[in-house]
């Protein structure tokens, strides 16, 4: 069997600033991020022959390609499920390069998700596609936003584990603490307190406003090449040790309410099994992680599903300070999507690259291997990244 483990590497990344109003088109953001990633890697745009992104991205591959001066695009792939798909395009790139389909693949995500349209609003259900009729079925009772969908899952998690909103406050505060020293973050210079978290208004009880990610404009791109090529390039190669997708039995997009466990957990656990199997690594081998935080509380079942603590024990793991630098598993040192920005998790992949290169603002000393996860409560994806 052909393995993708350690055959490819992230050779460069690029990002625009993150804002509430970028002042330019989404395509322009995608092109800026792409050119930034190519410059970072030291690769000429004419060499790009593959592109992978999210189904939800509004920027077509060929338009980015036209703008950067591309020559011969051979591979393009899109992955559904919004933020659940974050590491799917990375997996596509790794597979395409490992099999010789493409040599230089750009993975991108760019959006004016605050200034031109807004996520988190009641979902529009027409036309009656297979996913839309399910959103409409739940919307019939008033369940229409991702916050309410995750809130319903997390309420059950709280009931079964004893976790409370005060436990979730611990992560919300930590994310802003990291963000407060990150000049690219919305919460730069703006740490919060547990009391402020508790006093923030309810969005979908049990989720407070300060449990929710940022509506954001911005773009992030990665350049992925073979491991061999990456070693000859400008930056320290960040190897893709594993990349996987997970959608086990009973998974529904933000609506998996009909299986035994409705926590945002099963799809993460299914992805985790593949990652550890592909790479031969275990949770104990990981020095830090980016755990997807569309909603901060989802980090708790995420930590459990990826094997960093036992089921139901994340509240103690977090309370004991293990997510801090110096703890067992520092996470989301850029401030997460609660504190930095929400670019469908791609800004978290960029943070993992910085950590592994040793160039992050909140640097974890001696990071060798990291987990990066994607949105939970729906079909998901994740990757293990590392440096030699």
């Amino acid at each position: 069997m052909t393995s993708i483990s350690n055959k490819t590497a992230i050779a460069g990344y690029g990002a625009t600033e993150f804002s509430k109003n970028s002042g330019r088109s989404e395509l322009r953001l995608a092109v800026e991020a792409t050119l930034g990633a190519l410059t970072d890697a030291g690769i000429d745009p004419a060499e790009v022959d593959g592109m992978a992104t999210f189904s939800m991205d509004n920027n077509s591959e060929q338009e980015i390609f036209r703008a950067i001066g591309g020559r011969d695009l051979k591979f393009f792939a899109r992955i559904p499920q919004g933020g659940g798909g974050t590491l799917g395009p990375v997996q596509q790139a790794a597979m395409a390069i490992t099999t010789g389909i493409a040599n230089v693949v750009v993975v991108y995500r760019a959006m004016n998700e605050r200034s031109e349209y807004r996520f988190g609003q009641p979902m529009h259900s027409l036309p009656p596609t297979s996913d839309n009729v399910i959103f409409a079925y739940h919307g019939f009772s008033g369940l229409m936003t991702p916050a309410a969908m995750l809130g319903l899952m997390m309420r059950r998690y709280m009931h079964e584990t004893g976790a409370t909103s005060l436990d979730f406050a611990n992560y919300a505060v930590l994310a802003r603490k990291y963000a407060s020293t990150n000049p690219n973050a919305f919460y730069y210079g703006k740490p919060i307190t547990v009391e402020e978290h508790q006093a923030s208004r309810m969005v979908a009880d049990p989720l407070h406003l300060l449990d929710c990610c940022q509506e954001s404009d911005g773009g992030v791109a990665l350049v992925i090449v073979s491991a061999e090529r990456a070693r000859d390039l400008r930056q320290r190669p960040v190897y893709i040790r594993a990349a996987a997708q997970g959608s086990p039995k009973g998974t529904v997009s933000l609506g998996g309410f009909y299986k035994d466990n409705i926590w945002p957990f099963d799809e993460c656990a299914a992805t985790a099994r593949q990652l550890y199997s592909q790479s031969g690594l275990s949770p104990a081998d990981l020095d830090a992680a980016i755990i997807y935080d569309h909603f901060g509380p989802s980090v708790f079942p995420g930590l459990e599903a990826y094997g960093f603590c036992a089921k139901g024990e994340a509240k103690d793991f977090v309370k004991d300070g293990h997510l801090e630098i110096g703890g067992k598993l520092p996470i989301n040192m850029h401030g997460g999507q609660l504190g930095e920005a929400y670019i469908h998790g791609m800004n978290g992949v960029a943070e993992a690259v910085r950590q592994l290169r040793g160039t992050a603002v909140n640097q974890v000393p001696g990071v060798r291997n990291m987990l990066v996860t994607a949105g939970s409560g729906l079909p998901t994806s994740a990757a293990l990244l590392g440096v030699d």
């Binding site: 009641p122 399910i134 019939f140």
Partner: protein, 135 residues
């Protein structure tokens, strides 16, 4: 989208896998699918049976009682058709399947996992619908 008369209901977004569910409320019935091959009940509609893969099913009415498995109260942003705060419950029906339902008309602060509820058929403008109330 097919005509309302052909679908038998006024729910806004449905297809031929889901029409029976909404049409049931017109006659004050809570319908789920029952696989005619293996007998498995399924609430979230699907053309196929997740247990035996059969495409053959029939609608079957539930008694309408169950207990709260989880719940959430929507506060923000404003919802079309509902006022805030808007409580909702995921209910394990006595027949074993789960069903999400609105609980408007009930104080959100009283919601509890394990509490018994019963379906109430309501109309929301032109649409025949349902919600849960405490037993």
């Amino acid at each position: 989208m097919t005509e309302t008369t052909a679908r038998g209901h006024n729910a806004p977004c449905s297809n031929r896998d889901f029409d029976f569910f909404y049409a049931g409320f017109e006659g004050e019935e809570l319908l789920v699918q029952r696989c005619t091959q293996c007998g498995t009940l399924r609430s979230l509609p699907s053309p196929g049976c997740g247990n035996c893969s059969s495409l053959d099913w029939e609608p079957t009415a539930l008694g309408g009682e169950g207990e709260i498995f989880s719940y959430v109260t929507h506060y923000h942003p404003p919802l079309p058709g509902f006022s805030a705060p808007h409580p909702m419950a995921l209910v394990t029906m006595d027949e074993g399947v789960r069903l999400l339902g609105a609980m408007d008309g009930t104080d959100p602060d009283t919601l509890e996992i394990g509490r018994r509820v019963k379906i109430e058929f309501v109309r929301r403008d032109a649409v025949a619908a349902y919600r849960f109330r405490y037993l």
